[in-house]
């Protein structure tokens, strides 16, 4: 594979000036932390934190067949979306694996926005273009570089941001959005979504106004203990909720049903690999993505094996971390369905040592 040149988000210089440690993620140079990851994590749970996630990709889909196209490529039922609503979904491939997971926004009658993972922008685009040939009355545009995305997350997010907009933030239900003026910038998508389980908003901002909006957010949020948060905290926050991360927990070869994405797999309409997945559902899955917590001291890492008492390998860790909220190791792993039940005691093979774990049904933190 050829080394690809690293890509840049619009506010890279701002994060560097704020003292962020920058790492490559999904092909982009991204802030992983500004100070302490644990402290950034806890501030999102308790107050409000701001993530620059401008590396995410955005595709605009429009036209007479826009809905038909989306219904075909995505497993959730986009016909349920009214204007101003968003839904979580995934793009199945023909083998019943997952091309990507994404959000689908209905912007207008025949206009949708797909929000995809940074590392998959090119793969998704090529895949969707290939599928779009069946839906000639559809247009698709990659606006990833024209859009900055800020996730303002935490219980105080609405209070911290309200002075910046006339849109009533507390009145936007979960997975709904409004398009309005924000910090003096027009056409900002204010979406009550996120990847932290802490509540809050994701703001899609025209890239040329990214810096003024970023600065306005911190100015307005001062009294609410607003702080920047990096991708390190984003990962521990999502893992405490048991949310999948593409590339770790799901990929081109994992079954969405085994990954627990049955709830966004709607057989009431046709979509790529629907018959294959329907058959899989009827026959029953043999393994399932499951949460677990450490009973012994230790931090589970991707690739560690899960074993039974006899020392036989029964599964592999796909994501793991120390939970800053609980101060214990937590993780996700694919386990045989008969073992994937709350309370099952198993072992993590940590470099030759057997450490006790217990199966937990995520989220790991209960509200």
């Amino acid at each position: 594979m050829q080394a690809q040149e690293v890509k840049h988000i619009p506010l890279e210089h701002v994060h560097q000036a704020m003292g962020a440690k920058m790492v490559e993620f999904g092909g982009f140079l991204m802030p992983v932390r500004y100070g302490s990851e644990k402290q950034e994590h806890l501030n999102v749970r308790e107050n409000v934190g701001v993530f620059d996630v401008s590396h995410m990709g955005e595709f605009l889909v429009s036209g007479e067949q826009a809905l038909d196209f989306i219904q075909w490529v995505s497993a959730n039922d986009a016909s349920k979306l009214s204007i101003g609503k968003a839904q979580y979904s995934y793009l199945p491939n023909e083998q019943g694996g997952i091309v990507d997971d994404l959000l689908v926004y209905r912007l207008d009658d025949q206009e949708y926005m797909l929000v995809v993972n940074a590392s998959n922008i090119e793969k998704d685009w090529n895949w969707l273009e290939q599928q779009r040939s069946r839906f000639p009355k559809t247009n698709m545009r990659n606006v990833s570089e024209e859009v900055a995305l800020f996730a303002v997350q935490g219980p105080r997010a609405a209070d911290a941001l309200q002075s910046l907009t006339d849109v009533s933030l507390n009145n936007i239900p979960y997975y709904h959005f409004e398009i309005g003026t924000f910090a003096g910038v027009g056409e900002v998508i204010i979406s009550a979504t996120g990847y932290t389980g802490a509540g809050g908003f994701e703001l899609y901002v025209p890239a040329q106004h990214a810096e003024e909006v970023w600065n306005a957010i911190f100015e307005a949020g001062k009294a609410f203990n607003i702080q920047p948060a990096g991708l390190g905290a984003r990962d521990t926050l999502r893992l405490e909720m048991g949310y999948c991360l593409y590339g770790n927990d799901i990929d081109d070869h994992t079954s969405p049903l085994e990954a627990g994405l049955g709830w966004v797999t709607k057989f009431s309409k046709r979509f790529i690999a629907d018959e294959l997945l329907q058959k899989q559902k009827e026959e029953g899955i043999k393994r399932r993505l499951t949460g677990f917590k450490m009973l012994d001291r230790g931090v589970p890492r991707q690739g560690f094996e899960i074993q039974n008492e006899a020392g036989e390998t029964v599964g592999t860790v796909t994501s793991g971390t120390l939970s800053p909220s609980l101060n214990i190791g937590i993780g996700l792993a694919y386990l045989p369905t008969e073992l994937a039940t709350e309370g099952t005691r198993l072992f993590l093979n940590m470099r030759g040592r057997q450490l006790a774990i217990e199966v937990v049904k995520p989220p790991f933190i209960k509200k």
Partner: protein, 126 residues
């Protein structure tokens, strides 16, 4: 980046401070800042005599687990007991309260093979 002049350093980012017959070993300010929040320090080699360069434990940050390498040959006498409840001491005071092990070096000449502060600064580009 803090690189005290009175310590010796390994290329794997450990420091060592000789105090009479014994020496204290920890990870450098550069290392802790690269790793981020330290959440566990695991040392299961107390009582063992190990060669220079041997792995004597691991340090867990939020995102990664890293091996700890012994800068000189010696016996592992003690692990810092404060790190069990407060691993963040490694971040807050890497050369002081955040020391990791106390050792008894078996060959003091090996200390001369380690980097001095100036050479270590050069290594990390500080």
């Amino acid at each position: 980046m803090n690189v005290p002049n009175d310590l010796r350093y390994s290329r794997e980012h450990e420091w060592i401070r000789l105090e009479g017959e014994v020496a204290y070993v920890g990870i450098t300010d550069f290392a802790q800042s690269e790793l981020g929040d330290i959440v566990y320090v695991e040392v299961n080699t107390v009582g063992e005599t190990l060669e220079a360069g041997a792995v004597f434990g691991t340090v867990d940050a939020v995102k990664t687990t890293s091996d700890l390498f012994l800068p000189v040959s010696g016996e592992i006498l003690e692990v810092n007991p404060a790190l069990v409840d407060a691993p963040e001491l490694v971040n807050q005071d890497p050369y002081g309260e955040g020391w990791i092990v106390k050792i008894k070096p078996t060959n003091l000449a090996e200390l001369d093979e380690l980097l001095d502060a100036e050479a270590y600064r050069e290594l990390i580009g500080a």
